[in-house]
């Protein structure tokens, strides 16, 4: 810890919501010229802490100090006047206004009472060039990529505040190059002496960018440490309070599939996707690896009848079935956890219980209604089995965390007693704890005899639960790995179609 005075300091912060203590005497300090990562599972209290630091919430106890002086923030705007700016995951700028208008909104230079457009554009261009952006500032913001929009948002926040910059999951919707570009900007700001607070789900990004890390768990601070003294396992252990390394490729999997063929796809095709053959056995997980746009999701949608196939045959337990829409797929015993949970998965306003029983109810038809007792029993059973954490099952599912929502959708499909389950990126946007739990659940379902088809872009995750891995490239299944040949390196090689160059250090 440096002796120098922190720019922004929180001492003994308490925050209570109803009966729930979200923060319990948490200390936090951000110094000038550092990137300070804030980590914790969902529900650990990091968003609450951030909201207190930026003024969106008022603490119930403790104090905030800015450069040693106590401050009381009424709202984020008030925080901004003290030099504390925030950039959120979803850029909250005006997509249909020009870049320069977005940068200067609310403080446009005027000339004779009129907005001086020329001066705005010139100032915006000058400002963005300092961030290495050379774009047409008169164009609408929405014409640029999310990465550029993020940088514009950062530029605006820094311009308005200039002491502390809070980045709340800024990289969630960026690709690898865009992340690097954003990080370059952040490093530039760090060199200028800003204190940067960085929140993310990606541990590798924390190690890449941050100098120190503060870890929260269940509303308490676990530690604040310099990152060069830590490795990933240390961080995960502190976040979870237990060791949750994925079981790497358990030997049971190398024995190959356990049971008979349950689902078989023959020559299934659709425009823009090469025909494929695939059979999935009882007690088998077929993992799918491939880059975004390789056709992974398209295969899953075709299997489930979300998109109709141009040709091909599907058999379940040896009997041919017709699947031209999801209802038919459900009737055949298929389940599908879609990639976009919010859009295609959850019914936000419906209760946890209704979200769990809905697929079974749809399968039973309109007139065989599950009565309330059945619903309570079913929801309770699967919530227990998957450890869905909800205060009660009558609360709207939208109030749950992402990980718990994902488990609700999983429970929905387990409730129909499926033959075949398709999971598209089941761990995306989920905190580390729930992530490991979902991986364990997939393994357990396999052991219980389910046939699964799991798409994931995390290689070591696919390796951890797959008996067999299908590699996709350019909308085609290009390779199949099983047994001992399953390893992250081999998958990278198959995806790239070349010998491996440098592979990232695998997570422990």
């Amino acid at each position: 810890m440096t002796a120098q005075q922190p720019v922004l300091e929180a001492r003994g912060i308490d925050k209570v919501f109803g009966q729930h203590r979200a923060l319990d005497t948490v200390d936090f300090a951000a110094h000038a010229g550092e990137v300070h990562a804030l980590l914790g599972e969902n529900g650990a209290g990091k968003s609450t802490l951030i909201k207190i630091l930026t003024g969106a919430y008022q603490p119930d106890g403790g104090e905030l100090l800015l450069e040693g002086q106590p401050i009381h923030l009424r709202d984020p705007l008030h925080g901004q006047t003290y030099g504390i700016g925030t950039v959120y995951q979803e850029v909250n700028l005006l997509p249909n206004r020009s870049v320069s208008e977005n940068l200067f909104l609310g403080r446009q230079p005027t000339r004779f009472g009129m907005v001086d457009r020329k001066r705005i554009d010139a100032a915006a261009k000058d400002l963005l060039s300092r961030y290495g952006l050379n774009i047409d500032v008169r164009a609408e913001l929405s014409e640029y990529s999310v990465a550029v929009q993020q940088i514009v948002a950062i530029a605006r926040a820094v311009e308005l505040s200039g002491k502390v910059l809070v980045l709340d999951e800024p990289t969630a919707s960026l690709d690898r190059n865009e992340v690097q570009r954003l990080f370059d900007v952040v490093r530039g700001l760090k060199a200028k002496g800003l204190a940067i607070i960085f929140i993310t789900h990606f541990l590798d990004q924390v190690f890449d960018l941050a100098d120190r890390v503060t870890i929260l768990r269940n509303g308490r601070k676990v530690a604040t440490q310099a990152l060069n003294t830590l490795n990933t396992t240390d961080v995960v252990r502190m976040m979870l309070g237990k060791d949750v390394a994925f079981d790497h490729h358990p030997t049971a999997l190398t024995g190959g599939p356990k049971g008979a063929v349950r689902v078989q796809f023959q020559g299934l095709s659709r425009k823009g996707l090469s025909p494929f053959d695939l059979s999935v056995h009882e007690g088998e997980v077929v993992g799918v690896a491939g880059l975004l746009g390789s056709g992974r999701t398209e295969v899953a949608r075709l299997m489930f009848g979300v998109d109709t196939s141009d040709g091909g045959q599907i058999t379940v337990d040896g009997h041919p079935v017709t699947i031209r829409n999801p209802a038919q797929a459900v009737a055949a015993g298929f389940g599908f956890c879609p990639e976009d949970r919010k859009l295609d998965g959850i019914f936000g306003d419906l209760s946890v219980r209704e979200n769990i029983i809905i697929a079974l109810q749809a399968k039973l038809g309109w007139f065989k209604a599950l009565n309330r007792d059945d619903q309570v029993e079913l929801a309770g059973r699967y919530a227990e089995a998957l450890d869905i954490r909800a205060a009660n099952h009558d609360m709207p599912v939208k109030l749950l965390s992402g990980g718990n929502q994902q488990k609700v959708i999983l429970a929905r499909w387990l409730a129909i007693d499926p033959t075949f389950l398709i999971l598209d990126e089941p761990t995306r946007g989920i905190d580390v704890g729930a992530h490991a739990e979902i991986v364990r659940t997939i393994n357990r379902l396999r052991e219980e005899g389910l046939a699964l088809f799991v798409i994931s872009s995390e290689l070591d995750e696919v390796v951890a639960y797959s008996n067999r891995i299908v590699v996709m490239r350019d909308r085609e299944m290009v390779a199949e790995l099983d047994g001992d040949s399953i390893a992250p390196d081999a998958i990278v090689q198959a995806i790239a179609g070349t010998p491996p160059h440098e592979t990232r250090e695998a997570r422990p």
Binding site: F17, G18, Q19, H20, N42, G43, G45, S47, T48, Y57, A260, R262, E282, G283, F304, V306, D317, N325, P326, A327, A329, V330, A331, F336, P338, L343, D344, G345, I346, F347, G348, D349, L350, E354, I358, A359, Q361, A362, L364, W366, F367, K368, A369, L370, D373, V376, G380, R381, A383, E384, N392, H393, D394, S401, L414, D417, P418, L445, E448, G449
Partner: protein
């Protein structure tokens, strides 16, 4: 083959069932209705007086129920349409079509029961048409039903050949003005329809599935729901309700007026549904609450009429009361009243 099983451990104890009756009297709609009735009573002390005469009840309160019935019946169908995140603007025009069909048929010597069935059939057909536009052609509901809202009055005029068709058929007149168990027929019809519709949607899975489609149509598809079949049913049922209302209104005036029957009533029906707490964003719905909403609207209409204010006041007062009810239902007021514990993300 083995079935995937999950641990069958005992579940958490089920929560106590919600107690509808205790909640009922604290709902903003019920309070609003009570307030409107109270104001009516203050303006007109005889408001709650109900007398028995010629084998039926008479009084202002009965009048509110009777006059409110057509909109209440529309609201029953409209509730479900709105629950699917849709809207049906055509119900007023469908009322005119239904009335015109029944009146024209009886004046041409067709037996009244057949005419009634034919009118109900045209209502079903109109609703089905809306459903096809919304599902197969995937037109936005507000536009899809606007087609029939505009064209429907033309159709009704074609049926009546531009005249106001008057009739003296006892069955049709009975539907509009008769009484059963001392209560006006429209009230009986609305009550029976409300109870039947509520039982059907709540005893079967239809209610939940309709709500699911309204909350997230895409997720409904992924969960294996046949959203299109549900939408077809819902729009067809709205058309059916409109046909019943059309028969009542025609029977009441003993004639079919293609230009004015049900004019603007679709807006009252939508209003009744919204007052009843069903969101225009779809999802949770309550048929009895929508009927209550229709009664609030009618109680205001009646109150203004009997108090001797000029009818122009009606619109202003109505909008003021509606604003109050909507404010009471808004998230803002629930925050103010109940300081909900903030949920942490």
């Amino acid at each position: 083959m083995t079935r995937p099983t999950v641990d069958l451990r005992p579940t958490q104890p089920p929560l106590p069932r919600p107690r509808p009756l205790a909640h009922f009297f604290t709902r903003p709609q019920v309070i609003a209705l009570a307030a409107v009735l109270l104001v009516n009573w203050l303006l007109f002390p005889g408001f709650f007086t109900v007398t028995w005469q010629d084998g039926r009840f008479f009084g202002s309160l009965i009048d509110v129920l009777n006059r409110g019935a057509p909109v209440a019946i529309l609201a029953i169908g409209m509730t479900m349409v709105i629950a699917t995140k849709g809207v049906d603007l055509s119900v007023g025009a469908v009322m005119a079509i239904s009335g015109a069909t029944a009146a024209t048929l009886v004046t041409n010597g067709i037996p009244a029961p057949v005419a009634v069935l034919a009118a109900l059939g045209t209502g079903l057909l109109c609703g089905f048409w809306n459903g096809i536009l919304v599902t197969v052609l995937e037109i936005q509901p507000i536009i899809a039903t606007l087609v029939l809202m505009v064209a429907g009055r033309g159709l009704a005029q074609l049926i009546t050949e531009g005249y106001i068709v008057t009739f003296s058929d006892p069955l049709l007149i009975f539907i509009g003005t008769g009484s059963f168990l001392g209560l006006p027929m429209p009230v009986i019809i609305a009550a029976v329809l409300m109870i039947l519709a509520t039982l059907i949607v709540r005893r079967t899975a239809l209610g939940l599935l309709i709500e699911a489609v309204g909350v997230n149509r895409s997720a409904a598809r992924f969960a294996g729901l046949s959203a299109n079949a549900l939408l077809l049913i819902v729009y067809t049922f709205a058309g059916f309700c409109a046909a019943i209302s059309g028969l009542i209104v025609a029977g009441d005036i003993r004639g079919a007026d293609a230009n004015n029957a049900g004019l603007w009533l679709e807006l009252d029906a939508i209003l009744a549904v919204v007052i009843g707490g069903t969101s225009l964003m779809g999802g949770r719905f309550s048929i009895p609450m929508a009927v209550l909403g229709a009664m609030i609207i009618q109680a205001m209409n009646t109150g203004i009429l009997i108090s001797g204010f000029s009818p122009e006041f009606n619109l202003v007062v109505k909008s003021a009361v509606i604003i109050v009810i909507l404010v009471l239902q808004s998230p803002l007021s629930s925050r103010l009243f109940r300081r909900l514990p903030g949920a942490q993300k």
